[in-house]
């Protein structure tokens, strides 16, 4: 996993609530057996019409908006557990998704792929959308160590929450699996000591 420390970049606004993972990556693109290449079908049916032509009114097709931060409406990533959604967002080039809250499974999938799901207040989310609307070149700076998010245009600095374990993982590029493998002895002890009705 690629380590994440700080990022200063422009942002892409997607002011739509309840964006589900079927929109992020439709099921017909889940047939790959590797983790690569999903970015080209990110938001496929919002980006392209049925003939494969770009829909000019969709933000990813607007050359004004570029950057490694995606700013989205509340409840981003709801629906299917498909990690392909996080792979598509990462493969497209986003390192951070900002929203007022994330669906639980998507949030976990993002963190497991070195993508920071950054939760801001609804008021701040609104301010970020306004900043980008006024100036698509507006820059934002994320500092994971300090847990700060700065709107470089307004100068507003806000802090965000992330649990200390996940923060360490992101900064160092660790996977959960590395930690879990280190717990092998405890896991085997647990198996031996408990009463188990799951397999009888």
């Amino acid at each position: 996993m690629t380590p994440f420390t700080t990022l200063s970049t422009t942002a892409v606004p997607l002011p739509i609530e309840d964006v589900d993972t079927d929109q992020i990556i439709p099921a017909r693109f889940l047939k790959a057996v590797t983790r690569d290449g999903f970015g080209e079908n990110l938001f496929r049916d919002w980006r392209f019409d049925k003939d494969g032509q770009m829909k000019e009114d969709f933000v990813l097709n607007n050359p004004l908006y570029r950057g490694e931060i995606l700013v989205a409406g509340a409840n981003f990533g709801c629906g299917s557990s498909r990690e392909h959604a996080a792979w598509a967002i990462g493969d497209y080039g986003f390192r951070v998704v900002v929203s007022s809250y994330f669906a639980d499974i998507f949030r976990g999938n993002a963190l497991n792929n070195g993508i920071l799901p950054l939760v801001v207040s609804p008021t701040l989310l609104d301010e970020i959308f306004k900043t980008i609307e006024a100036d698509p070149q507006a820059r934002f700076t994320v500092n994971l160590e300090a847990q700060t998010f700065k709107n470089e245009t307004t100068g507003t600095v806000s802090t965000f929450d992330i649990d200390s374990y996940k923060k360490t993982c992101l900064i160092n590029g660790y996977d959960d699996i590395d930690y879990l493998l280190s717990q092998r002895e405890l896991i085997e002890k647990f198996e031996q000591e408990r009463q188990d009705f799951s397999l009888v």
């Binding site: 609530e17 017909r28 889940l30 557990s81 499974i105 976990g108 879990l180 408990r194 188990d196």
Partner: protein, 467 residues
């Protein structure tokens, strides 16, 4: 202070807690399918890791399988490859596989319970958000991403923070024509697609206790549609009766011991929940969705809201554009094109029986393509044994082989762009049943009624008609 059902099951599986609030949670049973497992197997190979516990994992092929000509090779090359990869991976890692052609094959959330793999008091995961289905048995069951599939394969554990607890009580008696599906669509319409985010939900109350296991599975299945991590229902005699004698259920003394343990699991009277909601069963009518997420639901006779506490006007307007419907108007009697009866939400034998009972001697409207897709080979076998398949075919339905089918637009079964489909599945997202498809979620009864009339129909009108 007492503990909730969720606390009891979760806490019994905590191996250790680490600084920052994460817990190492032991996973009893792991179900896998062809879509979310290949990258996890690749990860094991890359790290040169074996499966830690081969006796705790079971595989099936469901998302990509065709529901016609299941004895022939899969014609779509990428689907065929994904299913072949599952077969090869299961052979290499020695995972039991109920693949296409196996008598136990079917939708992963249908076969777990019917084989007695799912049971009370266990932790269960699958790379699929509808794993919440298994909570109907009093299990802590939830969907995970592929990185976590790999973690469970390698360590039989996950690193998680414990969710908060919500209880949803549904009290009273359901009216005729109102089913478990209507209960859960009603609840989600009240709480919205994000209302359960961060929570594990226990469903309780007299209307829940009165449900069959099939009905309880329908309820728990859609927990994820309000954003909940999972949903569960206290095990009781209905649960035990369903599980007794199943293929992998405990037997003899093991059964007695297991039931004794399962009886200790229900929530203690003095246990606390972070949030509690209570609804009256009598207030629930047959439900339909009008929009592009499962929270956009209403009684079949109601009018589409212009905005609500949960859905802003912009969200509804966007949905109306996609659905080609008008806010403020009803959708009762809207002409429909397709009916899909199937999916992990409503494809069990009880669902099929309910459809056949409602249809009786009536015929599917000529304007409607209606397909019935049993959730598993075992459900199909049972339906055939009861003659349900012949009755459905005689009425003008197609009776297919088991699989996820038209729920998700991944296999050959899709709804064409612009067409309306009344569907017993779980998601009405844009493009879910195929690019441009317009989904109206409903119960099997309401879907069957729509098949007969060719329109969105209040099933209670058909129930009132003399036979």
């Amino acid at each position: 202070m007492g503990k909730t059902l969720f606390d009891k099951v979760w806490d019994a599986h905590v191996v250790t807690e680490i600084p920052g609030g994460n817990q190492v949670l032991y996973i009893d049973r792991h179900l896998i399918h062809e879509v979310t497992s290949p990258q996890a197997f690749n990860g094991l190979r890359r790290r040169e890791l074996p499966l830690l516990r081969k006796d705790r994992i079971v595989a099936t092929a469901d998302h990509n399988v065709p529901t016609k000509d299941q004895d022939k090779p899969i014609s779509e090359p990428l689907s065929a490859k994904q299913v072949r990869m599952l077969t090869e991976n299961c052979a290499e890692f020695d995972v039991p596989l109920y693949g296409l052609g196996h008598p136990y094959q079917g939708i992963v959330h249908v076969i777990g319970p019917e084989l007695g793999i799912t049971r009370p008091g266990i932790t269960m995961v699958c790379g699929d958000s509808h794993t919440s289905t298994h909570g109907a048995f009093g299990a802590v069951a939830f969907g995970i991403g592929t990185s976590q599939v790999e973690q469970v394969m390698a360590t039989q554990c996950l690193l998680l923070t414990k969710p908060k607890k919500m209880r949803i009580n549904v009290e009273g008696d359901l009216s005729p024509g109102v089913t478990a599906k209507d209960i859960i669509l009603y609840v989600i319409s009240k709480l919205g697609t994000g209302g359960g985010t961060g929570y594990f939900v226990e469903y309780a109350g007299s209307a829940i206790r009165a449900l069959s296991m099939e009905g309880r599975m329908t309820i728990c299945n859609m927990s994820i549609e309000m954003g909940a991590r999972g949903g569960l229902i206290a095990p009781d005699q209905t649960t035990f009766d369903y599980l007794a004698g199943r293929e992998f259920s405990p037997q003899g003394k093991d059964w007695e011991a297991a039931v004794a343990y399962w009886k200790t699991l229900p929530t203690d009277p003095d246990a606390n929940f972070d949030v509690e909601h209570t609804y009256r069963a009598e207030e629930i009518t047959p439900m339909v969705t009008y929009g592009t997420n499962p929270g956009m639901g209403m009684g079949v006779r109601e009018s589409i809201p212009v905005s609500s506490d949960i859905h802003g006007a912009a969200g509804i307007a966007k949905a109306m554009k996609y659905m080609d419907l008008e806010a403020g108007k009803p959708i009762h009697e809207l002409a429909i094109d397709y009916v899909f009866i199937g999916s992990c939400t409503n494809s069990r034998i009880e669902d099929l029986r309910a459809v056949v009972d409602l249809v009786g001697d009536k015929q599917v409207a000529p304007s409607v393509t209606a397909i019935v897709v049993p959730g598993s080979q075992q459900v199909a076998k049972q339906a055939i044994a009861e003659g349900l398949d012949q009755k459905l075919i005689a009425a003008g339905f197609e009776f297919r082989g088991a699989g996820c089918s038209a729920c998700l637009g991944m296999n050959e079964d899709k709804v064409p762009a612009g067409k309306y489909c009344v569907s017993t599945s779980n998601r009405n997202f844009e493009g879910r049943q195929g690019p441009g498809a317009r989904t109206i979620l409903a119960s099997p009864l309401t879907a069957a009624a729509a098949a007969i009339t060719g329109k969105v129909t209040d099933v209670r009108d058909l129930l009132l008609q003399p036979a």
